[in-house]
Amino acid sequence: MKFTKDHEWIKKEGKYAYVGITDYAQQQLGDIVYVDLAEEDLVLQQGDVLCAVESVKTAAEVFMPVSGRVIEANHELEESPEKLNENPYEAFLAKITIDDESELDDLMTEDEYNEFLESEAE
């Protein structure tokens, strides 16, 4: 699993990858009440807006960690958006393909992400 500075995670599984938001992100957002799901079959570049998440406090955009195509949005979140709060690393937002695996190298490992969070907190 790799992480972005915008608090997304990406996990590669076979020829696909899953994208979600981190535990830190869900804590910052508070109770999530709605997910404006990603549009399936859309081709996006690294950093493009993938989808949006609304909480009782705010609304936030989720960005593509790497360039690729949206294969599937997690429709379970339509009815149960709270799963993002309960289990942020299980409740993925989208299943995607990765155009260029080298883009994963730009992202942070878990340790690097934790260090990043600590440095942000200071």
Partner: protein, 434 residues
């Protein structure tokens, strides 16, 4: 609204607080040469009695539907308005310049809006309705914008061309500055068009000229192409016509003036806006929801406000955060007092009257058919004489005639027209040799 008087003393205090010499010093930013350097040229003050007479004299210059028998429609219709509507809407709890939304003090207003939304949903077959919009044209414009933004893969809008011309202009204005491509075409062209880049198709039901198309066929074509289907419907016609839900509408919008709202030049009218659940979060304006308070009692509150309007403003599909609450209340009372059966009876009477006048006009031999499609309470015929001369002639005899359009003479006949009025209208129209 509270009346807030400002005394000379108040003014002085405020000026000294602002360290300003006089009121004029606030207007220094306006160039000298465009500033008005005299008092406004207003007539001297009048007594209440004089003022009422003066205003009545001006009002008497208007011809109105009390003095003339109206056969004109084209988007605004002369239906009977039950007197209870005026009595209830002028109650001070409702009659205010600003709609109070705070649930603590506004349960009555919010309940009325909730009832309105429920009735609009029943009428259109849609899942959700908002608390209303300014008018039919802006409701349509908003629907087009939402349809266009629903998918990142397609954004074009198609409008079936026999839409109210002012609605078309409004939609164009909405789309132009967002850079959304807009095409007008006939139903025949639509049914042969490639819709792969089309986000939404909108059609008026019945059309501006009164025609009722095969909406199931159109709906099927639009939906199969993956576009969204926007139906701009006369709510009165929905009493009898098939619900837009049945032919795949994603949005049903329109002008609800026929539901108990008086004819007025410039309004206020009432736009209604309803859609299927999928688009609920993108709906413009206000939505009232039903919930329970801390004691478990039923309570009404504003809900599902598009977060974009407040937080991600640059992503917002709409900037409208208001509604037309008093007119929505009129429509709610209208639908309540006519009731499910009465409302259908009004609509049925409109149909019967319109078809009676249509047959009558054709039988005079002075008018030609323009369409073979079914119609509700409005139709065109093609007169052998000049339309504006015909309307002038009818006006002299106490009638407001139909609109002069590219498709012919557009006539609307509501339930208000008596048999005598219709017979006389047909006779006068038939005897004119212009």
């Amino acid at each position: 609204m509270r009346y807030i008087p400002v005394t000379d003393k108040d003014r002085e205090e405020m000026l000294s607080k602002c360290k300003a010499k006089n009121i004029d010093s606030f207007f220094l930013a306006i160039p000298e040469d465009v500033r008005l350097k005299r008092l406004l040229n207003l007539p001297s003050a009048r007594s209440e009695m004089e003022l009422i007479r003066y205003m009545q004299d001006i009002a008497a210059k208007n011809s109105n539907t009390n003095n003339y028998s109206c056969f004109l429609g084209a988007g605004a219709y002369d239906h009977y308005i039950p007197s209870v509507i005026g009595h209830l809407t002028s109650r001070q709890e409702f009659f205010t310049a600003y709609t109070p939304y705070q649930p603590e003090i506004s349960q009555g207003t919010l309940t009325a809006i909730f009832e309105y939304q429920t009735m609009i949903c029943e009428l259109t077959g849609m899942d959700v309705s908002n608390a209303s919009m300014y008018d039919g044209a802006s409701a349509l414009g908003e629907a087009c914008v939402i349809a266009s933004s629903a998918s990142r893969k397609r954004s074009d809008i198609i409008i079936v061309e026999d839409m109210h011309p002012e609605y078309k202009e409004t939609v164009q204005t909405y789309l132009k500055f967002r850079g959304i491509k807009y095409t007008a075409m006939s139903v025949e062209q639509l049914l042969n068009a490639d819709l792969t880049s089309t986000a939404g198709v909108c059609i008026q039901y019945p059309s501006f000229y009164g025609d009722i198309y095969d909406m199931e066929r159109i709906g099927r074509y639009v939906k199969e192409s993956g576009s969204l289907f926007i139906v701009c419907a006369n709510p009165m016609a929905l009493a009898l016509l098939k619900s837009p839900k049945g032919f795949g509408a994603d949005f049903v919008v329109g002008e609800a003036q026929p539901l108990g709202i008086p004819l007025g030049y410039g309004g206020p009218y009432l736009g209604y806006f309803a859609c299927i659940k999928e688009h609920m979060r993108k709906m413009p304006g206000r939505i009232v929801g039903k919930t329970t308070d801390v004691d478990g009692k039923t309570a009404y509150v504003l809900t599902l406000q598009a977060r974009e309007q407040h937080i991600r403003r640059e992503k917002a599909t709409s900037n409208i955060c208001s509604n037309q609450a008093l007119c929505a209340l009129m429509a709610t009372i209208y639908l309540s007092v006519t009731g499910k059966e009465g409302f259908k009876q009004v609509a049925k009477r409109c149909v019967d009257n319109a078809h009676y006048v249509y047959e009558g006009l054709l039988n005079t031999g002075k008018f030609l058919k323009t369409s073979d499609l079914p119609f509700f309470h409005e139709f065109t015929v093609s007169p052998k004489s000049d339309i504006s001369a015909l309307n002038d002639y009818l006006f002299k005899h106490g009638f407001i005639g139909g609109l002069d359009t590219v498709k012919g003479w557009l006539i609307a006949v509501t339930e208000k027209r008596t048999k005598e009025e219709m017979d006389e209208f047909i006779r006068r129209a038939g005897e004119f040799n212009g």
